[in-house]
């Protein structure tokens, strides 16, 4: 009995130390999947309950955040009756080149310089919220939660090539939104050094 209590205390201590600090990250990921704060809360709760019950399977020293993201993604899929999001595997290189074309257009029409003068945060928040799944969760894992392509592929259960193509397309879509934002907001062009006679 004493051993049982001691074992549970040890389990709870390691769970509190290793898993609980990532609740904000898991919530962000859940919100990216559900787009609904109430649903995200349910997914986070389900994630942590499953993680706690399966804590004996977690390998100490391994990446707990990645493990939680995987549980979270599975909890989300179960909540959607195991409906998987499948997308065609596009050519990531083509997406990268398309992104460069967009960069060029943004530099040519001055959007790049306009955006350099303002906080991109609010516009990016709106653009990210408008992204469709599975692009949003891919961006969140790699660009916000700093997961590698390989880790994101493991969490989302898709090949690395799919992560790359999703990511590059999502970034292009986000940048297109930024371009619209700059144009619609009528952000002024900054005065260049050359115009100021400082060149």
């Amino acid at each position: 009995m004493a051993d049982h209590v001691e074992g549970r205390t040890t389990k709870d201590a390691s769970f509190a130390r290793d898993a609980l600090p990532f609740m904000d990250d898991v919530y962000r990921f859940a919100l990216s999947l559900t787009r609904d704060p109430s649903d995200a809360q349910d997914i986070v709760q389900e994630t942590y309950l499953r993680a706690y019950r399966s804590w004996h399977t977690f390998e100490p020293g391994s990446d707990c955040r990645r493990w939680l993201f995987t549980i979270c993604r599975n909890a989300f899929l179960r909540s959607r009756e195991s409906k998987r999001f499948e997308v065609e595997v596009d050519d990531a290189d083509t997406e990268a080149i398309a992104a460069a074309r967009q960069h060029r257009a943004m530099m040519d029409d001055g959007t790049d310089e306009r955006l350099a003068t303002v906080d991109l945060g609010p516009a990016l928040d709106r653009a990210l919220a408008d992204l469709e799944e599975p692009f949003r969760s891919t961006v969140l894992l790699v660009d916000v939660e700093d997961q590698s392509y390989e880790a994101a592929a493991g969490i989302l259960g898709v090949p690395i090539g799919t992560i790359r193509s999703r990511l590059f397309r999502a970034r292009r879509q986000l940048q297109a939104r930024l371009r619209s934002f700059a144009r619609d907001a009528g952000l002024p062009l900054p005065v260049s050094d050359e115009a100021q006679g400082n060149a």
Binding site: Q41, Y52, A96, A99, D143, F168
Partner: protein, 86 residues
């Protein structure tokens, strides 16, 4: 030039730019893209824009924290499952 590092052209650098910014290329490929960017005034702005875009995306989203009541609900559910905060 170190072994394995080759000159690459602009299309090749642009194709690898996101992978470069994500540090997902091999060491040699990273060095090739870096070397091209050091020498190419046409590609460098693409790099700078992409870098700033990713930094803004990362910083903006990391500021979003979970509402406090979510944590309370989760801890309460864990408590029902037998978990005790040490």
């Amino acid at each position: 030039m170190p072994d394995g590092i080759q000159d690459i052209d602009c299309p090749s650098a642009v194709r690898q730019l996101w992978d470069y910014l994500d540090q997902e290329l091999t060491e040699d490929r990273m060095a090739e893209v870096r070397q091209h960017l050091d020498q190419c005034r046409s590609c460098l702005p693409h790099h700078d824009f992409g870098k700033r875009f990713l930094e803004a995306l990362h910083a903006g989203q990391r500021r979003q924290l979970m509402p406090p009541d979510v944590r309370r609900h989760v801890l309460s559910a864990l408590g029902d499952a037998g978990f005790m905060l040490p």
